[in-house]
């Protein structure tokens, strides 16, 4: 937090392992949420609430 405009234009690079770890976590999160959504869709399409 330097407060100097334009002073920080660097985006940190992740290592391959860090990126893989991040992406694997993210994909698992998305898979879980997709399952929840699909389960809710089935409920709705079956005429439940």
């Amino acid at each position: 937090m330097g407060g100097v405009p334009g002073a920080d234009t660097y985006a940190p690079q992740m290592s391959r392992e860090q990126e893989l770890d991040f992406l694997k976590n993210q994909s698992q999160t998305l898979k879980n949420r997709l399952e929840q959504i699909n389960s809710r869709l089935k409920e709705l399409e079956a005429g439940g609430e």
Partner: protein
């Protein structure tokens, strides 16, 4: 705590950029002290996947809240998965937006407020890129999300189908990237 705001320029007096993934800058502010840093968005001219790349970049900077004009489904899902609170529909100067947030005048979103590819082709080109734009959002955990605010089962079905489609696309992109990385050795 840090708030990241999409900005048209690198200062607190710049306007909030209506685009998230392809905004020109981010201003990252500590709302208590109003100290800030600026970050040029290397994804501003990206061909595709700008929302996800930008979201990962912001998550890696330790921001907990995003203020922006519009946020599409891919960026929204990435930000939510990294535990960030997304507030869209924000306009005006960066300084005023932070003040509005501090006084509770801004509400977080339960879902993206625009479709994929919003902002593609908007704005002026800068003709430069710093590569990558990937980041990581480790250690922040999941943020519970509110259910979609549908008024009828039909609307809820439509909303959920849209979300499922966006998530599937994002998942495909992530799986492709994982495959690339695993092949790289």
């Amino acid at each position: 705590m840090k708030i990241a705001i999409s900005a048209t320029g690198p200062s607190l007096d710049a306007e909030v950029d209506p685009r998230f993934g392809r905004c020109q800058y981010f201003v990252i502010v500590d709302p208590q002290t109003m100290e800030f840093e600026t970050l040029e968005n290397s994804n501003a001219m990206a061909g595709g996947g700008a929302g996800i790349s930008t979201a990962q970049m912001i998550a890696s900077r330790g921001a907990q809240v995003i203020l922006t004009g519009n946020c599409g489904p891919n960026a929204y899902q990435t930000l939510s998965a990294a535990g960030l609170q997304v507030i869209s529909g924000v306009t005006g100067k960066i300084r005023d937006a932070v003040e509005a947030y501090k006084t509770g005048g801004l509400q977080s979103d339960a879902q993206p407020n625009v479709d994929s590819h919003y902002g593609v082709g908007m704005g002026k080109g800068m003709g430069m890129g710093r590569g990558m734009g990937r980041g990581m959002g480790m250690g922040l955990g999941m943020m519970p999300q509110a259910a979609p605010q549908a008024t009828s089962p039909e609307q809820e079905i439509e909303t959920l189908k849209g979300q499922a489609q966006a998530m599937s696309q994002q998942l495909d992109e992530i799986l492709r990237r994982i495959e690339q990385l695993e092949k790289k050795e």
